[in-house]
Amino acid sequence: MGLNSILFYFFAALAVVSAILMVTRRNVVHGAVYLITTLLATAGVFLLLQAEFLFITQVILYVGGIMVLFVFVIMLVNLDVSLLQYQFNRQRFVAGVLALALAAQLFIVIKMGKTSLFPQARVPEVLPKNTEAVADALFGRFMLPFEIASILLLVAMIGAVVMAKRRV
């Protein structure tokens, strides 16, 4: 087992364990910290998959941007009362069974389609330089989706400002 495999299983175990802890914690701030751990472990998996640009995007944008936003809002709305309330809703057993049924279906699909679902891999000997290749695709073939994404971000920005305003 090479170093690559050891690192992958380490990051995968870290991601799954901290995701479970994130969903079960009572304190929201602890949940946010565990989610940050999961996102960083996922970033490590991206690095192992030679997606360097996505790795650094994940660290800067997810961990540095989105999670700071989350922690900021948690500080604004923090309630000591919410720590004493029951954390799971009434339909939790039905919901848990349904989620596990969905997971079992996906499990069977991946297990059975292992030969037919994944055609022969075609990894070239030398991968292109990652950031250059991503930029080439993003500003070449994916130009229109890129512009639409910028409009989406503008709309989200206006929406967030309107929602957080004290009086509309």
């Binding site: 991601a15 929201v28 944008l61 969905l102 997971a103 075609r122 971000l153 929602m163």
Partner: protein
């Protein structure tokens, strides 16, 4: 060399944990964080297949998903702030103002 389906198992595990979090928790912020976890699980799939085929298209789609997650987090947290100002609670089952 890790086989591709191991990435899919990791993605499946994170996705299931996220779905369980969305369906069973009462706290709105935890629900929003679980949605971020689901989007992240999808990204692992895209990047694994992108590596398998030696093409960057999957990574470009993952970048679009991260953009979408950022937009969703901004608007969602704005809605949570507005809701908290009106009702002084964060529980999802108290969000019944549209219910007749």
């Amino acid at each position: 060399m890790v086989p591709v389906d191991h990435y899919l198992w990791l993605s499946l595990a994170l996705f299931t944990i996220g779905v369980i979090g969305v369906l069973t928790r009462r706290n709105v912020i935890i629900i929003l964080m679980s949605i971020e976890l689901i989007l992240n699980a999808v990204n692992i799939n895209l990047v694994a297949f992108s590596h398998m085929f030696g093409s960057v298209d999957g990574q470009v789609f993952a970048i679009f998903i991260i953009t979408d997650a950022a937009a969703e987090a901004a608007v969602g947290l704005g809605i949570i702030l507005a809701f908290f100002r009106n009702r002084e609670t964060l529980l999802a089952d108290e969000m019944d103002m549209l219910k007749w």
